[in-house]
């Protein structure tokens, strides 16, 4: 039964609401463009000269901000791509001379080389199991390796001297100023639109909680690699412009020191705020040029001290600090994004086979060296079953859940979800088979609004736009039910970090249900919930199983809760299945009592009294 779209938050029409920020950006961009256009008439030649260079550097700093501030990867390596762009131009013009054909070749070489190198670096840095530190290490090694290659290139790359004397674009200084200034504005506008869009939300989600993203079916490695390639190409084009302007390509433009300077600029200007990165870069470049002759050491000392102070005390940079101040002053609370409308998605056409087997585990074992945590676990579960996994601490329950959700975890045995073997697939692929996992500690995206969290959860089902923020949030009926019954529906615009514990748990559940899974894995979902919340939760779960025919596997300690909701109970003890049966069979079994209390049962045969 198709639900009518329900509107929450009535104010102006959806159109003006979602385009208001775009309008603001457009106006700002036009004002800036006008300033750029008039700049050369107001400023003197030397300043114009410095600003052209500063603008190109600002574009590179912007890419660092996107990677670091917006998606959480600290990178020292954007200078390498800047250098690749610049050297591509220099090498092509030195070898082939200057002309329109050569210019096209140079652009092609710059972009092509960058894509290859960035792809390689991305593959090396972002793989399932990599840490942010490793990615930073690789980004650090990249410019060093590149510069060494430049040094060893003899006359082809100019070695330590760099390349000079090649003919380059013959634009006037004013034309260069307008070109570079407009390039900065264009990049700012494009990046800010892309990041504000629904697709851009995913980056913030990855920065906040990479694991949750994987378990929502997002291949975070692939997203990061794609992002790196895009950022690298933009940095390379900035370097292309820089060298095209100065007609000198020097190894210093591609090196590690320059890469760290970009990070310093972003940190000081405002990590995560795009305009902050640009301002930081321009201010530092201009000030360096003027002050490095008169106060060379003092200036760098000031920058160094400011940098350390900002990192320690004001991680958001100067702009971030201003923004926090503004927020505190305005006391707008936690509302972040534009209001949304909820809609229920259509049910998929194929009705699930009546109670098919969706989970088959056979001979599953997990050991760490000689320590065996799980040993020859075998069981099956059908749709419409609510299976509780119980057992004392250390029995291996969470490990079992991990082995079901991530194909690389188990040591032996096989697992089939909805008829497909999970082999060694990573978590995001298994989500695609129909598995949803909810963590013990509510795993959501702290700085995203409730609506955005849910939107990210729907990314697998509906490709998000790179341009717009959709005012409509489509959820399957089950997820929508959770959102409405828990009261989240009133808090759609609030940031997740301000929710109560119970609401966070509900949000996570809604997110997982938004995946429309066939199998739901829950790890101690009632821990910390009030009695009323637990009751509500029980109703939700039983409803899910009855109406949607989900298969739910739940780890629980609260035996009353277990008895209330389960259709089946599996008891784990010391890594093995001790009992697997209906509620009646298991709950009063003396073996269970023995396992939990450690004392032998009075009746040795284990017959239920």
């Amino acid at each position: 039964m198709p639900d009518l779209a329900t509107v929450h938050d009535v104010a102006a029409t959806p159109l003006s609401r979602s385009s208001r920020p775009v309008l603001r950006v457009a106006i700002a961009a036009l004002v800036a463009a006008a300033m750029i256009g008039g700049g050369p008439w107001v400023l003197d030649t030397y300043t114009v000269n410095i600003l052209v260079r500063a603008f190109f550097v600002a574009i590179a700093a912007l890419t660092v901000d996107v990677l670091w501030g917006c998606s959480g990867t600290l990178t020292f390596g954007q200078s390498a791509f800047f250098g690749i762009g610049g050297y591509a131009l220099a090498i092509v013009f030195t070898q082939f001379g200057f002309g329109p054909g050569e210019a096209m070749l140079a652009v092609g070489a710059a972009v092509g080389a960058t894509i290859v190198v960035a792809g390689l670096v991305g593959w090396l840095s972002f793989y399932p199991g990599s840490t942010p530190l490793y990615a930073s290490v690789i980004s650090l090694v990249l410019p060093i390796v590149l510069v060494q290659f430049l040094y060893s290139g003899g006359t082809f790359t100019g070695s330590s001297s760099g390349l000079v004397g090649f003919e380059s674009f013959d634009l006037t200084l004013e034309a260069w100023f307008r070109l570079s200034g407009l390039a900065v504005i264009a990049t700012l506008v494009a990046t800010s639109i892309a990041l504000r869009s629904d697709a851009g939300r995913v980056l913030g989600a990855m920065r906040d909680n990479d694991e949750r993203c994987s378990y929502l079916g997002i291949d975070t490695a692939r997203v990061r690699i794609g992002l790196l390639v895009a950022a690298a190409v933009i940095a390379a084009l900035a370097g292309f412009g820089y060298v095209g302007f100065g007609a000198v390509a020097a190894p210093e433009n591609a090196g590690f020191v320059f890469g760290t300077q970009l990070v310093v600029m972003v940190a000081l200007g405002g990590r995560g705020s795009l305009i902050g990165a640009v301002i930081g870069a321009v201010v530092i470049e201009v000030a360096s040029a003027y002050l490095s002759t008169s106060l060379p050491f003092i200036w760098e000392l000031i920058v160094g001290v400011a940098f350390v102070a900002v990192i320690v005390v004001l991680p958001g940079g100067l702009l971030g600090g201003l923004r926090d101040l503004g927020r505190a002053v305005r006391r707008r609370g936690a509302t972040v994004s534009a209001p949304v409308m909820l809609r229920t998605s259509e049910k998929p056409n194929a009705a699930p086979e009546r109670d098919a087997i969706v989970v088959e585990v056979s001979g599953l074992s997990k050991h760490f060296g000689s320590l065996s945590v799980l040993s020859k676990i075998s069981f099956t579960a059908r749709q419409g079953e609510l299976v509780s996994l119980v057992g004392p601490n250390g029995a291996g329950k969470t490990t079992l859940i991990r082995c079901l959700a991530d194909g690389r975890e188990r040591s032996e045995g096989s697992v089939r979800i909805a008829g497909h073997s999970i082999e060694r697939l990573p978590a995001d692929r298994i989500v695609g088979l129909g598995l949803g996992r909810k963590f013990q500690a509510a795993s959501v995206f702290e700085t995203l609004s409730v609506a955005d969290c849910l939107r990210v959860a729907r990314v697998r089902r509906e490709r998000p736009s790179f341009l717009k923020t959709s005012p409509v949030l489509t959820l399957p009926a089950a997820a929508r039910a959770v959102v409405e019954s828990s009261g989240l529906v009133e808090r759609l615009g609030d940031e997740a970090q301000f929710l109560s514990h119970g609401l966070k748990q509900a949000l996570e559940l809604a997110m997982v249900l938004a995946l429309e899974p066939k199998v739901l894995l829950l790890d101690e979902p009632t821990a910390g919930l009030t009695r009323a919340e637990r009751q509500g939760f029980a109703e939700i779960l039983t409803g899910l199983v009855a109406r949607e025919r989900l298969c739910v596997l739940i780890i629980e300690h609260d035996l009353d809760f277990v008895r209330l909701i389960s259709s089946r109970i599996i008891v784990l003890h010391q890594g093995r299945i001790a009992l697997d049966g209906s509620v009646a069979d298991v709950v009063d079994a003396p073996l269970v009592r023995e396992i939990y209390t450690g004392r032998p049962a009075s009746d040795a045969c284990g017959v239920t009294p």
Binding site: L74, L124, Y127, G129, S130, T131, P132, L133, Y134, S136, V137, I138, L140, V141, I144, V145, Q148, Y151, S152, F256, V257, T260, V263, V264, A267, F297, I298, E300, L301, V303, G304, V305, F307, V308, I311, V312, P315
Partner: protein
Amino acid sequence: MITLALDIITTAAILFIVAAGLLIVFGVMKIVNFAHASFITVGAYAALVTSRFGLPPVLAPFVAFLAGGLIGAATERIVVRRLYRRPLDAILATWGLGIVIGQLVTLAFGREVQFVPAPISGTLAAFGVDYSLYRLLLVPTALVIAGLFAGLLNGTRLGLSTRAVIMNENLAQGLGIDSTRVRLITFGIGCGLAAVAGALITPLASVDPNMGLAWLIGAFMLVMVSGGSLLTLGLSCFVLGGLQVLASTFISPILGGLTIAVLAAVALRLRPQGFARA
């Protein structure tokens, strides 16, 4: 052939001396001290000052240790202490600190390149080949340093507390070990050791405010690969340093400089265990 072997052994010794301080800080405090480069520079300038004042050159490493240790302890108190929960930010803050220290050194001593005369010059006829005596002496120096630290770690109360903090800081604190003091002392020692390295390598090269930088990345990669044990560090220095010498000799000195960084990055991709704590 013999020369090559001696090149490898002495290079490994030099790398070990330079990287040991960084390893100690990383192992105990789980953060990477990117100011390490500037402490190497501090040590080099300490050696310069020692020679300017006419003191015997053998005192230089001790003066350096004192200078590095005190400055390191001060920076730990003021800056580093607040960043233990933010390891990536710690890298950045220590890098910024490095810039600050470098600029202060430049203000005090000037930007130009300066030189410290070698305390011991000449060659030793070793295994049929004339080899630089100073380089050869760095090998036993490296072993002494390693021995001192192993002794400190395993044979003293401070060492015991440090090992406890490494294994499980919360538990150590719960047992009454002042982990703040342990961290302060460790950071001071790590920086002091960096300064000693700086003082020891100046006779082979030159002294300028940015000299430490060239050593930082190599040392950093070696520490990452070794994961936290002095023994593995020694081994990594030997293997990677040896490969660097071989690459420099048989391929080109320019590409040889890359060897450590590239091979370490690859090794970490294959065996990230070195990162287990990050």
